[in-house]
């Protein structure tokens, strides 16, 4: 027996067996009611068995329906289909069964009623009367014949009783003739069989009746043969003993009359019995039919529920599998244990899920690879020394790297997703106006075609925190067939340092040429002028001599000035190798400042040193030049001030790995427009000076890998902030 057969028997077998047993029981009950009264003692047992069995099935049905209801409430997969199928089949089945039940009950009742009608009852009654009348006539005739025969043989009965009874029997054609004493003792008898068997003894009550000289004539049935006879008992007077002797004559009733009589009696008896049992019969048949109806409905419902569950099981499995897949479990594989369409469907589902899982895995791998690529490119873009900004086709900011934010001086990451033109209106982006002014025309629709055609570049200068930044923009479209991922890319290059370096290189070259071309002739000029004065002073008139001396002094002074200027150019152009050493910055500054102070007067220079400042690694002579230039610059700037004041502040705590030195004066300050070129050569607005002081300062700071920043505004003095690196733990 294979698994399917076992499962089928488990699901339907017990129900089929129980239903079959109960139907058999009801069938037997039906047969007992109609045809087998000898098994009547089993009727109640079968009735109890049927009722208990039906109740058990009904209990099972209620339990099954409750289970279905709970599953319906829990929204178990496939339960709605099961309920629908069961309900539909129940309706389809219940209606014809109920109709059949109704007509069956009506038919049974009508059939039972039709058994009994007045004509049948009257016919049976008439037949019975007819038979009885016939038998009464026979009895009466037998009695009369017996009386006549007894009268003819009366004298001989007392004298020769044996002979007489024999004669009497022959004469009457009777079966048996017997003569008794009055007390019932047998005197003589004769029977038609000629044997010695004793006659059929009448009862005591008959002897008593005869003693009172009353004759008896009746039809009797002999047991156990059920043979019907006519028993005649008449009193015979014995004149010798003066006694009454009972004479019994038994006549056989013709067999056909007996058979008809039995038939009529039986028919009448059964008719009366059935007539009485008509109502109980109807009740019993109705009960049996009701139980058949109930059993059929209950069994059918149980069968249908089981069948519907079996039918929807693959649907339920498929729904559960689909739910698992929807929850992300693509390893779902359902067992294919059927060879019908559902089996094909489940197999197709398994194949489909396998393909989906494979495709999903491929997508996952591709996604991972894409993600890796994306992260890689993000890392690349993030670590680019160029700023990168991308916009979508709607000019919304899509990506921006850190360098772009750094170059533009604003963190644009929070603004990702906003339209580019809206960013321009942000309150904290006024310094980006040149940037936006350069960009916006590029996004105008009329220029888009050109943008699509070729990349573009443009240089803009922005001013942020008193610093000028020169930015080179490279723009291009991102070609894509999908508008969602297309857009624009803008690469930002901060070329400020490059420009400044180029400028510095140019000025250095100029300085070197000037130093080379001018310095060499200066000494011969000076010496020649002094020689002219020496040779001609004594030979000229005093006026001419005074004139010569004045001219010669002018030449010498101007040569000195030019030598100073040339020396400044040499200093600017010359980049000697750094002689790095550990220096106490505070001490160095104090030493330099002391040159600008008298012993008893601290002057206008105020020092605010951070005592915690560590030693720095730097070239002392270059630093001296740096601070000399700044202090000299500050002192010259405060010459016009009523209360001149110069502050030098060192601070090691503001930044963890930096030392900041501020040189502040309360001079007239630097005009805003001068901020951009203040560190460039010949950027001075002073009548005297080389115009290279701050340029040399900036150059030295950059040689020390430091930064210098000008913090100034109109009429509020000037503040130079120098930032130098501290030594790390390794002394670097």
């Amino acid at each position: 027996m294979n698994v399917k057969t076992r499962l089928f028997l488990k699901q339907y077998g017990w129900l089929a067996i129980v239903t079959g047993l109960l139907l058999s029981s009801l069938f037997i009950m039906h047969q007992i009611l109609q045809n087998a009264p000898e098994f009547v003692e089993y009727y109640i047992g079968l009735l109890a068995f049927s009722m208990i069995g039906t109740l058990i099935l009904l209990t099972l049905l209620i339990r099954t329906l409750l289970k279905l209801y709970r599953q319906y409430k829990q929204n178990v997969s496939g339960i709605r289909t099961t309920v629908k199928i069961t309900s539909t089949l129940t309706l389809l089945l219940a209606f014809p069964i109920m109709t059949l039940f109704y007509f069956s009950v009506s038919l049974v009742h009508q059939s039972i009623d039709q058994w009994f009608d007045v004509r049948t009852e009257q016919a049976l009654s008439d037949a019975s009367a007819l038979v009885r009348a016939n038998l009464d006539n026979l009895t009466r005739d037998s009695l009369n014949a017996t009386l006549r025969a007894e009268e003819s043989l009366r004298p001989f009965l007392a004298q020769r009783p044996a002979y007489s009874v024999s004669q009497l029997r022959n004469k009457l054609g009777a079966q048996e003739v017997a003569l008794y004493q009055s007390n019932g003792q047998l005197i003589a008898y004769s029977n038609s069989f000629g044997d010695q068997s004793l006659p059929n003894q009448p009862g005591d009550n008959l002897f008593q009746q005869l003693r009172q000289r009353h004759s008896y004539a009746a039809v009797e049935t002999l047991s156990p043969t059920n043979q019907q006879i006519v028993r005649i008992l008449i009193p015979v007077f014995n004149p010798f003993s003066n006694q009454v002797l009972p004479l019994q004559v038994i006549f056989n009733i013709p067999e056909n009359i007996t058979r008809y009589a039995q038939s009529v009696r039986l028919a009448q008896s059964q008719y009366h019995e059935l007539n009485y049992l008509r109502a109980p019969l109807k009740t019993s048949f109705t009960l049996i039919l009701s139980m058949v109806l109930l059993l059929t409905l209950v069994s059918a419902l149980l069968f249908m529920v089981q069948a519907a569950q079996n039918l929807t099981r693959p649907i339920r499995y498929l729904a559960q599998g689909t739910q698992r897949v929807a929850q992300g479990d693509y390893s779902t594989k359902m067992q294919v244990d059927r060879d019908d369409e559902f089996g094909t469907l489940i197999q197709s589902f398994n194949d489909m899920i396998g393909q989906v899982a494979k495709a999903r895995n491929d997508i996952k791998i591709n996604h991972q690879q894409t993600e890796v690529q994306r992260l890689y490119f993000q890392a690349v873009i993030r670590n680019l020394t160029n700023g990168v900004v991308t916009l979508d086709m709607n000019r919304r900011l899509r990506t921006i790297n850190d360098k772009a934010s750094q170059i533009l001086g604003i963190n644009l990451q929070p603004l990702v997703g906003e339209r580019f033109c809206d960013i321009m209106d942000q309150a904290d982006t006024p310094h980006l106006k040149p940037f936006f002014d350069a960009m916006m025309p590029r996004f105008e629709n009329s220029n888009l075609m050109q943008m699509d055609a070729r990349p573009w570049s443009e240089q803009v200068t922005i001013q942020h925190h008193n610093q000028q930044r020169i930015i080179l923009l490279h723009g291009s479209t991102l070609p894509s067939i999908d508008q969602k991922i297309g857009g624009f890319v803008i690469v930002l290059d901060d070329i400020t340092e490059l420009v400044q370096a180029q400028l510095h290189a140019a000025w250095s070259d100029v300085a070197r040429r000037l130093a080379h071309e001018i310095k060499n002739p200066l000494t011969p000029i000076q010496l020649s002028a002094e020689r002219l004065e020496f040779k001609l002073t004594n030979k000229l008139q005093p006026d001419d001599a005074a004139f010569l001396e004045r001219m010669t002094r002018t030449i010498v002074d101007q040569v000195d000035t030019m030598q100073t200027l040339v020396q400044a150019f040499i200093d600017y152009a010359h980049t000697p190798e750094m002689q790095l050493q550990l220096l106490d910055l505070n001490e160095l500054i104090l030493d330099i400042v002391s040159l600008y102070q008298t012993p008893h007067d601290d002057g206008i220079i105020e020092l605010k040193f951070d005592p915690e400042c560590p030693a720095i690694l730097a070239d002392a002579s270059r630093l001296r030049q740096l601070f000399h230039n700044l202090i000299k610059n500050a002192l010259e700037a405060t010459e016009e001030s009523d209360v001149a004041k110069v502050q030098i502040i060192t601070d090691c705590a503001a930044q963890p790995d930096k030392i900041t030195i501020q040189v502040i004066d309360n001079g007239p300050g630097i005009p805003e427009q001068a901020v951009n070129w203040i560190f460039e050569p010949y950027a001075t607005d002073k009548p005297k000076g080389t115009g290279l002081g701050l340029a040399i300062v900036k150059k030295i700071v950059e040689e020390l890998n430091g930064q210098i920043e000008l913090q100034a505004s109109n009429n509020e003095g000037t503040c130079f902030v120098i930032t130098l690196s501290k030594l790390n733990a390794d002394g670097h």
Binding site: L33, V40, Y43
Partner: protein, 189 residues
């Protein structure tokens, strides 16, 4: 006066067919002779209309006569009755329209009696004469015995269609109470 009241009640019962079957015990005596305990009893049986109607429709009705002799015993202080003798016999009462007579058939000894009226048949059914119960040798003097008699209708013998009705109708599960008589052993009559 008490006898007169009983007679009146019997006459009243005879006058009309009662709605429910009733059995009234008229006499219950024991007799002991020739080492045997006998019983005489006479009961007046009245059947309900339903039962009579069924009989007259030739439905044979069986009555079971139950006779029981119990002994009063005691274990420690706990009294109980133990059954000494139990005799059940069935008598079938039927009617034949053809013969126009009632038939009383004792299924125990196969005796058959015919009656043209129902009342004598029921009187015969309720009358027990010289019925041997047990040998006196089986009884112990000094012990207390009790003779019990009960009649009941055997609804298990009814035709199958009537079972449903019999299960629901007390008339068809009719049985009398136990009529009891204390028996004194060692007495001769």
């Amino acid at each position: 006066m008490k006898c007169l009241g009983g007679l009146v009640s019997i006459l009243f019962m005879l006058a009309a067919q009662p709605a429910w079957s009733q059995i009234t015990l008229l006499e219950l005596v024991d007799k002991q002779f020739e080492s045997t305990l006998y019983m005489d009893a006479k009961a007046h049986i009245q059947l309900s209309e339903k039962v009579v109607e069924a009989i007259q429709h030739e439905i044979p009705i069986q009555f079971i006569t139950q006779i029981e002799l119990t002994r009063r015993d005691q274990i420690f202080i706990f009294p109980y009755n133990s059954q000494q003798t139990r005799i059940d016999y069935t008598t079938e009462l039927s009617y034949s329209h053809y013969d126009r007579r009632y038939k009383l058939h004792n299924l125990r000894n196969q005796n058959i009696l015919y009656f043209s009226q129902l009342e004598p048949a029921l009187a015969t059914l309720g009358e027990i004469q010289n019925f041997p119960i047990t040998s006196l040798n089986q009884l112990h003097s000094g012990l207390r015995y009790k003779l019990k008699l009960r009649f009941r209708l055997n609804y298990w013998s009814l035709p199958a269609p009537m079972f449903t009705q019999a299960l629901l109708d007390a008339d068809w599960r009719f049985k009398s109470e136990w009529f009891e008589l204390d028996v004194q052993t060692g007495r001769r009559r």
